[in-house]
C-alpha cells in the first residue's frame, strides 16, 4: 500500500537555523499520526512542508506516491485545520465551510447543501447564518474542521487543534476527533506539544527534538520503550537514570528509564530522601533524591505517604527498568 505521506531525508533550513534536519518519515494511509515535540522542535514546520507552505531545502516529499516538490498548496489534496482556526471573519459560517467548493466553481446550491451536511457532521447544524465572531472557541474549531473537510482531502492536517480550548472541552474534542477519523477513514496528521493528547489520540507518533525525529512508533512503544533520554523525559516525564545509578539498582551500566508508576516505596532498600510530595487525587507523586538523581514514584491513594525530608527506599520490577541507547 502506498503510504499517505513520505519524507525522504527532508531538511528545511532558515539561514543557519535547522528547523527540520534530515527527517525520514512514513505515514500510513488511514493513520491517526501525531507529531509531538516541544516548541521549536520542527513539528509545525513538518506540517507546513506537507501542506506546501514551506518548501524543503533538501530531500523529497511524496503524498500518495506523488512527488509534491513543485505542487503549490492550493493544488495539494491536503487540507489544514489552523491553530488559530483562521476563519474568514467577513463570511458567514456556511460560506466559510463552503469556501473550498466555491473556489472550485461548484454552484451555489450544491455547495451550500454540502456545507450544511458538514456542519451537521461537526455537530453545528443551524449555525450557518452566524459570523465567526459570534462563536465560542470550541465552535470555531468545529467550523474550521468542517471547512477543511469539505474538499474531501486524503490527508487532514491539524496544527495544535486543541491548544486554545479549555481542559474539559479538549478531552471531549479528543474523543470526537478520534471518532471522526475512524468514520471518515482519512489520514489525520496532527501536531501537538501535549504528550497526553498525542498518546491518547494517535495510533502512531513521531517525537521531535531539534529538527530531528528522536523516536517514531506506537504510543505504547514510545511510552514504554523510549530510545533516548529526551524521549523518556518528554513523553510522560519518566525517571531518567544515569549509568551509575542503573548499575547500583541492579541493571547494566547504561542510561535507563523508569516509569514513576512502576516505582514502589518500601520500608527497606536503596536509601533516599523525600524531596517533594504532590497530591494528585488518584495518587501522590513522591520525589526522592537517590545518589544525586531525582526519582519520582507514583504512590496510589490509600497507601502511606512519607513526609518531606524523611528517608525512604524504592523497589520495582526489574523488567520495568528500560535500558536506552543514549
Amino acid at each position: 500500500m502506498t503510504p499517505a505521506v513520505e519524507f525522504n531525508a527532508v531538511s528545511r533550513h532558515f539561514g543557519t537555523v535547522k528547523a527540520v534536519d534530515g527527517v525520514d518519515l512514513t505515514i500510513a494511509e488511514g493513520a491517526f499520526f501525531a507529531m509531538l515535540g516541544p516548541s521549536g522542535s520542527g513539528k509545525t514546520t513538518c506540517l507546513r512542508l506537507i501542506s506546501g507552505f514551506e518548501k524543503p531545502t533538501a530531500g523529497g516529499i511524496r503524498i500518495f506516491g506523488q512527488d509534491v516538490g513543485a505542487v503549490p498548496p492550493n493544488r495539494r489534496n491536503v487540507n489544514t485545520v489552523f491553530q488559530d482556526y483562521a476563519l474568514f471573519p467577513h463570511m458567514t459560517v456556511r460560506d466559510n465551510v463552503a469556501y473550498g467548493l466555491m473556489v472550485k466553481g461548484v454552484d451555489r446550491r450544491s455547495r451550500l447543501e454540502k456545507a450544511e451536511e458538514l456542519l451537521a457532521l461537526v455537530k453545528l447544524p443551524g449555525y450557518g447564518e452566524r459570523k465567526p465572531g459570534q462563536l465560542s472557541g470550541g465552535q470555531r474549531q468545529r467550523v474550521a474542521l468542517a471547512r477543511a473537510l469539505i474538499n474531501e482531502p486524503r490527508v487532514l492536517l491539524l496544527d495544535e487543534p486543541l491548544g486554545a480550548l479549555d481542559l474539559k472541552l479538549r478531552e471531549a474534542m479528543q474523543d470526537e476527533l478520534k471518532a471522526l477519523q475512524k468514520r471518515l477513514g482519512i489520514t489525520f496528521v496532527f501536531v501537538t506539544h501535549d504528550q497526553h493528547e498525542a498518546l491518547s489520540m494517535a495510533d502512531s507518533l513521531a517525537v521531535f527534538n531539534d529538527g530531528r525525529i528522536a523516536q517514531i512508533g506506537t504510543p505504547e512503544d514510545v511510552y514504554s520503550r523510549p530510545q533516548t533520554r529526551f524521549v523518556a523525559d518528554f513523553v510522560g516525564s519518566s525517571n531518567v537514570l544515569p549509568p551509575e545509578l542503573t548499575a547500583a539498582l541492579g541493571g547494566p551500566s547504561k542510561w535507563a528509564s523508569l516509569r514513576p508508576e512502576a516505582v514502589r516505596l518500601v520500608p527497606m532498600g536503596h536509601d533516599g530522601t523525600v524531596k517533594t510530595v504532590r497530591y494528585l487525587g488518584a495518587g501522590s507523586r513522591v520525589v526522592l533524591e537517590i545518589g544525586g538523581t531525582e526519582i519520582a514514584a507514583m504512590v496510589p491513594a490509600g497507601q502511606p505517604i512519607p513526609e518531606t525530608g524523611a528517608q525512604a527506599a524504592i523497589a520495582f520490577d526489574p523488567r520495568a527498568l528500560h535500558v536506552m541507547a543514549e
Partner: protein
Amino acid sequence: MHSEQAGPGVKIAAGLGLAFLHLPILLIFLYAFTTEEKSYQFPPPGLTLQWFGVAWHRADIWPPLWLSVQVAAIATAVAIILGMLIAGAMAQTRFFGRDQISLLILLPIALPGVITGMALRSAFAMMDIPFSVWTIILGHATFCIVIVYNNAVARMRRLSGGIMEASADLGANGFQTFRHVLLPNLGSALLAGGMLAFALSFDEVIVTTFTAGQQSTLPIWMLNELVRPRQRPVTNVVAIVVFAVTFLPILAAYYLTRDGDATAGAGK
C-alpha cells in the same frame, strides 16, 4: 495630580483657540451670501442667494472644477492600486532595508510641498516630459499613495495572516484569495484611504503650481480670483463647494475606519 475637570481658565482658552481656528471658515460661508461684491465688509450690508446663480453661469469655473475632479480621481485610483501593493509587501514580508523603504514611502507627505514640487518639476524637465494634466496627476499621486498605504498597512497588520494561507489551503489561487478574502477585509480601509487622498488632491495648490502647465485646477483658479475685486462672493460660493467635496469624504473615512476592528480582527 490629574483632575478630571479642567479649570475655567483652561476651558476658556480652549474655546478661544477653537474659535480662532474655525470662525474664519464660518466667515467664508457668510461672505458667499453678502450683497456687496468688491470688498469683504463686516457685517455684510445685506444677504442674498444670487451668487450661487452667478457662479453656476460663470463659464470659467467649470473647466478648473472638472480638471480638479479628474486629477483627484485618477491620482486616487493610482494611489489605491500602488498603495495597496506596497502595503501588501510591507505587511507580509521581511527583507533587508524594509524600515528604510517604509520611511521613503512616507517622505512625500512629510516633505514640504515646495520641495516635492521643485523636485518633480526639475525631474519632468530633465526627462523632457511636457507639463500637462498627467504631470499634475503624478505629482498628486506621490502624496496620495502615502495616505492609502497608511490605511491599508494598518488594516493588514490587524488581519490574521492565517486567512490568506487558509484560502490557499482550500484550493484558491492568488487571484481568488485576493478577490474573496483580502479585498473584503481591506475594502473599507482602501475606501477610507481613497477618500482622504481624493480630498487632499482636490484642494492641493503647491505641488500643482509646480507641475501644471497652462491648466489651472480649482484651488489655483480661486487663488487667482481672490486678487481680482470682481464678483468676489463667487469665490466664496466655490469655497463652499470645495469644502463639501473635501470635508464629506474625510468625515465618511473617519466613520468607515472607526469600526474597522470589529470586521478585521474577528478571526482570533
